[in-house]
Symmetry: C2
Subunit: 240 residues, 2 copies
């Protein structure tokens, strides 16, 4: 059998910001696996991708519940990989959609982890939120010999240490610990070196360069902040 | 005038691994700026993009010489931005191609830096080498709460400190200090946690998981190494 399990990165929202490879793979899918735990994410990815898929593509909703015990989470992942396996055994092309890039914080890898190696797998990359942000607002992620660090912000993140560790720092999931992040940015004197974007590329997109007046409850779930120690000022001239 | 200066990320080599947005922008270009200093890179980007461009697109070669003095480099960049400006003044659509992503270590930003703000600018992102690598070889760049660091390796890089600083570390331009990198990987016990790819996606692509026998002179210019502290072993099963 030549059918495959495909992981497809669909970008952050603009239906043109998807690779031609992703479009060609989407056309082949018989079944699309949609994660239910992150209900919003699942539907956003599907909304971007659906125009490229067959009209009769079978939608299969699977749950990745946020269970406290790792063992329970692993069992849920195994059960989901089993579902993928059943469709692959029927000779069907099965796809899993990810917002942004397939290999950047995606549930897709938990299916790969538990899928037997006899199946064919193909992963198609996509444009992540932070990569999209840099192009959308015309600033470099890194130039010359600069480094870049990507951090999934949470209540344990040692924020000042992260700021010290790199020339450019991307904080994802900012809403989870915004107050601490704001204080660390002020404490390290980086107030003018940041750009923060919520709902990047969507209708309700919000861009801000000044976070001092903002509070944690103002921050939407899909918010990314990039701190550029080299400064943001020079990079505002082409933002319209 | 509604003409623009476009920065376009064209991916690492697979002509399908380019976004639809990039393809649509390439079709509009009247002029394409090609950097001459990195002769190989310039032509690779052009080879990927040319099938999508008008047959009579004007090719303009500009030099970004590797001059020792920063002042001289800045003057060269200003002169190049002036060339872009002249074409924009004629009402033409001007494009600058970058291998991988437009905002990841691209010369493009040196043109943006010196271009007056009255012009319209649009940047189209692309798939970087390390993003491509993860999908091509079916392993996650980061999962769960993991962090990622991207480093442009050179003779000054404090490699063990970089390894300590993140869960996943991408070393770009590995050939510039391979021997030191190899020793640091061995010293920190990470020999089994790496994947190294040279000429990713091209005919002469080489993948290796074991660098202990390799010497600095064996390493091609386009080589990226990813160190995953969580291990690479689990992620080899879908590599064909």
């Amino acid at each position: 059998m030549n059918n495959k399990f495909y992981g497809i990165g669909v970008g952050v929202g603009d239906p043109e910001e998807i690779t031609m490879k992703a479009v060609n793979v989407l056309k082949k899918l018989d079944v699309v696996i949609l994660p239910e735990a992150k209900k919003d994410e699942g539907s956003v990815a599907y909304e971007i991708a659906k125009q490229y898929m067959k009209k009769d593509v079978e939608k299969v909703f699977v749950e990745f519940p946020m269970l406290k015990s790792l063992e329970d989470r692993i069992n849920a992942r195994k059960a989901n990989a089993k579902i993928v396996e059943e469709y692959l055994e029927k000779g069907l092309n099965v796809g899993f959609l990810t917002i942004g890039d397939s290999m950047t914080y995606s549930t897709y890898v938990y299916l790969l982890e538990h899928l037997p190696e006899k199946y064919l797998v193909e992963t198609v990359p996509g444009i992540s939120s932070f990569v999209d942000m840099a192009s959308r607002f015309n600033f470099p992620l890194m130039i010359g010999e600069e480094s870049l660090k990507v951090v999934s912000l949470n209540s344990h993140t040692e924020i000042e240490k992260e700021i010290a560790s790199s020339d450019n720092i991307v904080f994802m999931k900012v809403s989870r610990s915004f107050e601490r992040l704001k204080q660390a940015i002020i404490a390290t004197g980086n107030q003018e070196n940041i750009i923060m974007v919520s709902n990047c590329g969507k209708e309700n997109q919000v861009v801000t360069y000044d976070i001092e007046e903002l509070e944690e409850e103002d921050i939407p779930y899909f918010t990314t902040l990039i701190l550029k120690k080299g400064g943001m000022k020079a990079w505002k001239k082409f933002i319209s």
